[in-house]
């Protein structure tokens, strides 16, 4: 059985290699090949007129931009795959140093969001399924339908108004610098995390509730009931693991979605994360930074999917034997 799990992980890592290579290609094409080259985009428009075409050509060749596209792609690909993100074009700063703190800050926020979301969803899903169609279930289901239909930027702004402006519990924007102590970042992340969860948790909850209702209608739950097993054990130990399985794939999507939604949420709360850094790099056409952040985001998604698959293997012994047969 261990051999089959190892083989599955091996297969997934092999696939991840191609996915990441493809991501590198897309990012490369999107940033370097399209009109308006990196150099002219990196130089502010008012300064651009002071450079002669010869100077520009000289700089391009220094930066290696005059080489053919495939050669440049291979270079970018090789750099990304070895986690060597190079330096920024104009200031020659190390990209890795620049993005380190924003990435860590965002990872803290995303990780916290994931933990809070899963805890919330599991608690609500189990509670709602105790009595499908009951008052509690109806209340939770209606609320989540409402929050599911709310876009993140609306939720974030409402939170700013409620928590910061009306209640004065937290500052409206976060002033912590990117390299602030991580505990400060963690504290600052709380309200953005709740904003991130409102939307994502709603969808996850609906999937979990459906899974719970199905599991609670199964023959094995009926047997447990008829054998005098108390309800909480039936819900948590017999039904929940089966009900989590359909949700987990969606959780991996949630992680992918976090990267997109956190750009919005970070902007609203001025959270010093990778989203803000990405926006800045985009506006300044700082191509190595964009490439690095995009690549790390893809890596996170691949990793989240792998974790979800492993969790499913842990929850369903039947999948374990099936994967060893084929």
């Amino acid at each position: 059985m261990l051999a089959s799990i190892a083989r599955m992980i091996g297969r997934r890592l092999f696939m991840a290699f191609f996915i990441l290579s493809f991501t590198a290609l897309i990012v490369f094409l999107g940033t370097e090949v399209l009109p308006g080259d990196a150099l002219t985009a990196s130089i502010p428009a008012e300064e651009l007129q002071f450079y002669s075409p010869e100077q520009l050509a000289q700089m391009r060749s220094e930066l290696g931009m005059d080489r053919s596209i495939p050669v440049r792609f291979l270079e970018v690909w090789h750099q990304l795959m070895t986690f060597d993100f190079g330096t920024t074009i104009m200031k020659k700063e190390s990209v890795a140093t620049r993005i380190f703190h924003p990435i860590v800050n965002s990872a803290i926020m995303a990780g916290l969001a994931l933990v809070v979301m899963l805890a919330l969803v599991i608690a609500l899903g189990v509670l709602a399924s105790l009595k499908p169609g009951g008052r509690l279930d109806n209340a939770i289901s209606t609320t989540t339908l409402f929050t599911y239909s709310m876009p993140d930027f609306v939720v974030s702004n409402v939170f700013v108004i409620v928590f910061a402006v009306w209640l004065g519990l937290v500052p409206a924007v976060i002033f912590a610098p990117t390299n602030a102590p991580k505990l400060t970042i963690l504290a600052a992340a709380i309200v953005p995390v709740i904003a991130l969860c409102v939307h994502g948790a709603a969808y996850q909850f609906r999937l979990l509730r459906a899974g719970m209702v199905e599991a609670l209608n199964s023959d094995y739950v009926e047997r447990a009931r008829l054998a005098g097993i108390p309800q909480w054990r039936i819900s948590v130990i017999h039904a929940l693991p089966s009900a989590l399985i359909p949700m987990l794939n969606a959780t991996a999507y949630f992680v992918a979605g976090l990267l997109a939604t956190s750009v919005v949420v970070e902007a609203v709360f001025k959270f010093p994360g990778a989203g803000g850094e990405l926006l800045r790099a985009l506006s300044q056409r700082e191509i190595p930074t964009i490439q690095a952040i995009a690549f790390l985001a893809a890596l996170a998604v691949v990793f989240a999917n792998l974790i979800a698959d492993l969790a499913i293997l842990a929850l369903d012994p039947r999948v374990r034997t099936r994967s060893s047969n084929g």
Binding site: Y220, L226, A227, G228, I229, H238, D316, P317
Partner: protein
């Protein structure tokens, strides 16, 4: 009989909600009582309310159902008025249920040990033992080989017979005074069924437990129960000693139920002459099959799994057009693999399969369209072999459109014709499989197979999931279809009387090897192998014991 009865059911009424404001009574004003240590059988076709009644003994109704009146007294207490906490004390401790389908009734992600230990802890049933040792003791008492290994396994890793024993062991944890067995042997082979039933009756004799058997299998009830209740549409039609009900049924319904039991007849037809005359439609020569035998040799050397075991070993057989070859064997004997190989569901790895003298290539996907049309298969479980998202019309029309290029209008007429051939009403056209009864579903599956105008139909346990009366109908229709269309059948079942009834010739399989292969008459009267004799005994004792029990009752 002055003591109070163990169980006293009074005017019990149980209804299902069928729509807004409408309800259907599954149990309709039933009263009876059961004495301590008595064995009672409750029989009737599916849908007669017997399973709903069985669950009421544990004060449980499925979602959508409710108890609309009456009471169920167990040792004098009305269990229907117990609160949630009292129910936890009652269920599993005073009374236990052995559920119908042991695979789906065990939590898939929990090991057998976890199931057992959970119950032992819940009911403080370990005594002086550790919960683990108590669980092992119970599993050993069920005569499960190597309880310690079973303890660690997941439900899907056990055989049907093993799972059945596990759910019985689970019911016995707290030594309840009442055990309800809901269709306890439906999923089992005849020989395993015999073992499981013997086991239960020995336990019952030792502990004096009251047993309620709910079953559509009258053989089982005749064998196990002193008294029998015949139910139809929520009412009790007959209630009396097993002998009386079986030999002098008072109602027409009970008479038809008893007449439908398949029996082994030694006067079975002998092989018809055409077997020798016609060229075979299917012949199989020296067929071998090993699971896990395929794939790369290098991979197998790198990741050595358990040694591949041979599922089929040197099988040879032939079927002439319009005749039936029956294949009998227990589960694991390789009979389904044989059908899968002929159907092209699995790729063989040795021997030859010839269809009208031409070699059939491996998988169905690599066969040409005409071959795929001419060899059809009908499966055991129509609920999972029919697409639940299609209507009956779409299901049957699909082969017509694919193989005969029929238009929608033309195919509709043909679908109606096919439904009529199987005594199904045209009003079912728009239904989905889930809205049909098990018997109707299987007949739709048969209609789909015959829509292809096949020359060979592979029938894999096609009546195992059906009630006896429905089974009798389906078998009759299969015979009629065979005569009308001159179709050959490869008829696979673990039920020897059914196979004997259908087949011109019988092949007996055990552990992938042919034990006997002859015409039906010879197999029934003069089998060569001891295995076939054992199989014949298992079936004839079932009916003989029923007779014996009745004799015992008279004296």
């Amino acid at each position: 009989m002055t003591q109070i009865p163990h169980i006293d059911v009074r005017n019990l009424r149980l209804v299902y909600k069928t729509g807004p404001g409408t309800e259907l009574a599954a149990v309709d004003d039933i009263s009876f009582s059961i004495g301590k240590g008595e064995t009672l059988g409750i029989v009737g076709e599916s849908g007669c309310g017997k399973s709903s009644l069985a669950r009421a003994f544990l004060a449980y109704t499925r979602p959508g159902a409710r108890i609309a009146g009456g009471s169920v007294l167990v040792s004098g207490t009305d269990i229907l008025s117990l609160d949630a906490a009292q129910l936890l004390q009652f269920r599993g401790r005073k009374a236990a249920m052995v559920p119908q389908n042991p695979l789906s009734s065990l939590t898939p992600h929990r090991t057998i040990g976890q199931h057992m230990v959970e119950l032992i802890r819940q009911h403080n049933a370990a005594g002086s033992l550790t919960p683990r040792d108590k669980a092992l003791e119970l599993l050993a008492a069920m005569e499960l080989p190597d309880p310690a290994a079973i303890f660690k396994r997941y439900p899907h890793q056990l055989s049907g017979g093993q799972r059945q024993r596990v759910v019985i062991a689970a019911a016995l944890v707290a030594e309840p005074e009442l055990i309800i067995l809901d269709e306890p042997t439906t999923a089992l082979d005849k020989t395993v069924e015999t073992q499981v039933l013997d086991l239960v009756s020995r336990l019952q004799k030792r502990t004096g437990t009251t047993l309620i058997y709910v079953s559509h299998d009258l053989n089982v009830v005749a064998r196990m129960c002193e008294r029998v209740l015949v139910m139809q549409k929520g009412k009790v039609l007959e209630d009396g000693p097993t002998l009386e009900v079986f030999t002098q049924p008072k109602t027409e319904y009970a008479r038809s139920l008893i007449a439908a039991i398949p029996k082994l007849r030694s006067d079975a037809k002998s092989a018809p002459l055409k077997v020798a005359v016609d060229a075979p439609v299917l012949s199989v020569r020296d067929l071998d099959f090993t699971y896990g035998g395929g794939g790369s040799k290098l991979l197998r050397r790198l990741f050595p799994g358990p040694a591949p075991s041979r599922t089929l070993d040197d099988i040879s057989l032939s079927i002439t057009p319009g005749s039936t070859l029956g294949v009998v064997g227990e589960s694991g004997s390789g009979k389904s693999t044989l059908a899968g190989l002929v159907a092209g569901l699995v790729d063989g790895n040795g021997g030859k399969i010839l269809f009208e003298g031409k070699q059939l290539t491996g998988l169905a996907t690599s066969r040409d369209r005409d071959l795929r049309r001419r060899v059809q298969m009908i499966f055991q479980d129509p609920a999972s072999s029919l697409n639940p998202q299609h209507t009956v019309e779409q299901i049957i029309a699909r082969p017509l459109q694919i193989f005969f290029g029929m238009s929608r209008a033309a195919s509709r007429d043909r679908v109606v014709e096919l439904l009529q051939e199987l005594d199904l009403d045209a009003s079912l056209l728009a239904r989905s499989p889930r809205q049909l009864s098990g018997g109707q579903q299987q007949r739709v599956a048969i209609a789909r197979a015959f829509a292809c105008k096949p020359d060979l139909v592979l029938c894999d346990e096609i009546t195992s999931a059906l009630d006896v009366t429905v089974q009798a109908q389906v078998l009759k229709q299969m015979k009629r279809l065979q005569q009308e269309h001159n179709t050959a059948y490869l008829f696979i079942s673990h039920d020897l009387p059914v196979v004997a009834e259908m087949s011109d010739q019988i092949l007996v399989l055990e552990k992938g090897q042919v034990r006997d292969y002859a015409d039906t008459g010879t197999i029934l009267t003069n089998p060569k192998s001891p295995y076939t004799r054992k199989l014949l005994d298992a079936f004839s004792t079932a009916s003989a014991q029923a007779a014996q029990r009745t004799v015992k009752h008279v004296s």
